[in-house]
């Protein structure tokens, strides 16, 4: 009946008046295709991110079904809260400032100059970023311990110690982001300035630095985000004296079962993060605009020992790599071969087959390793499907302004999990997923932890694949369409082959990040399903030299696993694509 009527009205429309406006086709498969591509990630985000976070926030505002803000006034009137907010901001600002400061000479050295073993040095600088936070925490703790190699600095359980570890993590973000742009800056602009009488310092200050500003701002905002939400490192290094909003949420929940304060703190954390994200999004847009302006050729020249700038950069680079990166990791490895009785040997590694001194653990470390690998694999698959679809949708430039805005919003939405702390996600899961979701009881299905890790990994997948998809000239797709390819074949024969390398890299990222994920997992993993990072944290928290030795050996195993995954994935990186991490 309805169909008849529509046909009737269409016949009318095709009459004399409507002849030059033929009816549009009613069913278009492309609409269905894109609809699914938008619906799947949005559904995932709604169920596994928005719902838990909103439920958490609601707990802060309406604890017993009625709006009650006393929790807020109570938490916000505690001096401890403001001290933690202050500490969070201080460590984030310091961590960001030093990451940028140390990252610039390294970016110059690794992207603007060429020398033997540059590829190796570039790889080395990337490793820290993907190392699990717990491992980094343990490494620096070993370094700063009173009996450790840097014990004399008195950095144990100090703000400075935490900042050093944060810089260790995030220098690579700065190097990568700034270096990618620096490598392709047209050297002729600098040459023009020099020919106008500007010395090297003035050229750097008036030409190079302003050109790099978008990349520096973009890197700084992302690093700030990471520092402000750092959890594992702070928890391991801060001890009882230093904490952030993030660790406080964890402590309130797991130690004091004070869910109301935790909820209020989560809301506070959301406010800080949203502000940082807004700044980050703006900086990123400027950087992508800037990247379009540069040439595709590398502007790197051989390192010259006659140039003072080169010598300074080389020295700074060597000190940073040796002192900040090699020393803590080498210290960790060395210390892991130190047996509880002080002699050297592989005893700590042998002990990985046990559940620790006085049964500190429910499972052996090897069993936890197997759990970690299984979990990370599942998380990677989920993150790739969701993140891949988001990248695909967001890479399009729809014609209508409304749709373009919608795409921009989607882009921003999927950055949120990057900023919203893993602890909040884990805590939110704890609050909401105690009942079956869509007919599936996630807690018994063993999918709860992988899903939580995927929530954390999705933004990385998006940020890795998206720049490559965006860089594809839309005319390539137009040519393919004109040559007879429908939308599906355009995706398969143009987008997919070009983005394949970045998908490989994203797979490595997602896997490495899931392997090391601690914040959310620590809430959700049951004792018999503990992952490697959870086991490591539990071991260092228990008394006994044997347990500590095991924690070190387990950290080395986890670091080796992560580094191996990343080394393989890094081979797929296309430096020209300008990914962020």
């Amino acid at each position: 009946m309805d169909r008849d009527r529509s046909r009737l009205s269409r016949t009318d429309a095709a009459g004399p008046a409507g002849r030059d406006r033929p009816p549009r086709p009613v069913f278009r498969p492309a609409v269905l295709l894109w609809g699914t591509a938008v619906a799947v990630p949005l559904g995932f985000l709604a169920v596994f991110f928005a719902w838990p976070v909103v439920a958490l926030v609601a707990r802060g505002f309406v604890p017993d079904g009625v709006l009650d803000l006393t929790g807020f006034s109570e938490v916000l009137s505690r001096p401890r809260t403001w001290r933690l907010v202050g500490l969070t901001l201080t460590q984030a600002v310091l961590g960001t400032a030093f990451s940028v400061l140390l990252g610039l000479p390294l970016a110059y050295l690794l992207y603007r100059r060429s020398f033997p073993a540059r590829a190796l040095a570039r790889g080395l600088v990337t490793v820290p970023f993907v190392l699990p936070a717990v491992v980094v925490g343990v490494a620096f703790r070993t370094l700063f311990a009173p009996a450790g190699p840097l014990g004399f600095l008195g950095l144990e359980e100090s703000l400075a110690g935490i900042v050093v570890a944060l810089v260790f993590f995030n220098v690579s973000v700065v190097v990568r982001t700034v270096g990618g742009l620096w490598e392709r800056l047209d050297p002729r602009t600098e040459q023009a300035a020099a020919s106008l009488g500007a010395g090297p310092a003035r050229v750097f200050r008036t030409v190079t630095l302003p050109s790099l500003a978008p990349a520096v701002a973009s890197a700084a905002s992302v690093v700030f985000l990471f520092c402000a939400t750092a959890f594992g490192v702070v928890l391991v290094l801060g001890g009882v004296r230093y904490g952030t909003i993030e660790t406080e949420i964890w402590t309130r929940t797991t130690q004091f079962l004070d869910l109301r304060s935790a909820s209020v703190l989560s809301v506070l954390q959301l406010v800080v993060i949203s502000a940082a994200l807004a700044v980050s999004a703006r900086a990123r847009r400027r950087r992508e605009a800037a990247l379009r302006l540069v040439s595709t050729r590398s502007g790197a020249r051989p390192l010259s020992w006659r140039s003072p700038a080169d010598v300074a950069a080389a020295l700074a680079g060597a000190v940073i790599v040796a002192g900040l990166m090699v020393l803590p990791l080498a210290g960790l490895v060395a210390r892991s071969f130190r047996e509880p009785d002080g002699s050297w040997g592989v005893g700590n590694y042998v002990a990985l087959g046990t559940t620790g001194e006085r049964n500190a653990l429910v499972v052996t470390v090897w069993e936890a390793t197997a759990t970690s690998l299984r979990t990370a694999l599942a998380a990677t698959v989920i993150a790739l499907v969701v993140g891949g679809l988001v990248a695909l949708v967001v890479s399009r430039r729809p014609r209508s302004a409304g749709a373009r805005r919608a795409v921009g919003t989607l882009d921003g939405l999927f950055m949120l999990p990057l900023g919203v702390s893993a602890v909040t996600v884990g805590f939110g899961f704890l609050v909401t997923m105690d009942q079956p979701v869509l007919g599936l009881d996630l807690r018994t299905s063993g999918l709860l932890v992988p899903v939580a890790q995927a929530v954390v990994a999705v933004p990385l997948v998006v940020r890795t694949v998206l720049p490559v998809l965006r860089a594809i000239d839309p005319r390539l797709r137009e040519v393919a369409a004109v040559l007879g390819s429908g939308p599906g074949r355009v995706l398969r024969t143009v987008d997919l082959p070009i983005a394949l390398r970045s998908v490989g890299l994203a797979t490595g990222f997602a896997f490495a990040v899931s392997l090391g994920e601690f914040g959310a997992t620590s809430f959700l993993a049951r004792p018999d399903g503990a992952t490697l990072p959870v086991v490591i944290y539990r071991l260092i928290g228990r008394p006994g030299a044997e347990n500590y030795g095991m924690a070190l050996a387990a950290s080395v195993v986890l670091a080796a696993l992560t580094a191996t995954v990343m080394m393989v994935a890094e081979r797929l990186r296309d430096e020209r694509a300008g990914g962020e991490f």
Partner: protein, 239 residues
């Protein structure tokens, strides 16, 4: 009427930018028509509208009498060539040319034969296994032409295909493009801002300015009887 027929077509960007303003143009089968005009005059937009890459704000595009309004880009059996070849970087020369053939019902041998024939046509015999970045600008455009012609499009749309090349090469290639189009009997619309190129390639030339089509005529007619001062000015006949 056979061939391409553009009837009162308008293309708008947003609310207030009218790129093409009620243009009508007919191209007979086997004919090559050049659209000539300064940059921003709407000639590329008109071409993209004919290909189905821009939605029409008004009017209609017909081929062999069939209205193409509901026909998506990939079902129009047109060919398209851009200023810079837009070759697929992940495919070698042979597989670029074969791209449009892969969805046709051809045996592998037939496809290879067609690729070989077309590379011969554009003077690149034996280039099948070469990768795209190793080609010069002129070679890339030849490959793009071979790729566009391979599926035997009923209409080829060329959007300033030679403008990125240096003058000498451009003049030589213009002749070769004309020869390739005539030899394959391809109907074509060729967009350019260079009137010498337009005369070299096309049977008829349409002069466009600010979204309007001012005059369509053979190159000789245009030179001897420009319809307006603006046409004469753009052909370099005044001053």
């Amino acid at each position: 009427m056979a061939g391409l027929e553009i009837r009162e077509v308008s293309v708008r960007y947003g609310q207030d930018v009218t790129a093409v303003d009620r243009v009508s143009l007919a191209v007979a089968p086997g004919e090559v028509v050049a659209l000539l005009g300064p940059s921003g005059c709407g000639k590329s937009s008109l071409l993209r509208a004919a290909a189905g890459l821009e939605p029409l704000a008004g009017g209609s595009v017909l081929y062999d009498g069939e209205d193409l309004a509901g026909v998506p880009v990939h079902r129009r059996r047109f060919g398209l060539m851009f200023q810079e070849g837009q070759l697929f970087p992940h495919r070698d020369v042979g597989r670029n040319v074969a791209y449009g053939l892969e969805i046709q019902d051809l045996s592998r041998a037939e496809r290879d034969a067609r690729v070989t024939a077309l590379l011969g046509l554009v003077g690149l015999a034996g280039y099948e296994r070469r990768s795209v970045p190793t080609l010069s600008g002129g070679e890339q455009q030849r490959v793009a032409l071979a790729r566009a012609l391979a599926p035997r499009p009923r209409l080829l749309l060329l959007d300033e295909p030679l403008s990125a090349l240096d003058r000498q090469l451009r003049e030589r290639l213009a002749g070769e493009v004309r020869a390739a189009l005539v030899e394959t009997g391809t109907t074509a619309v060729f967009v350019t801002h260079d009137h010498a190129e337009a005369s070299a390639v096309a049977d008829r030339v349409g002069v466009m300015d600010r979204g309007r089509l001012l005059q369509v005529a053979t190159p000789d007619e245009l030179r001897t009887a420009p319809a307006s001062d603006r046409v004469a000015e753009f052909l370099g006949l005044t001053g």
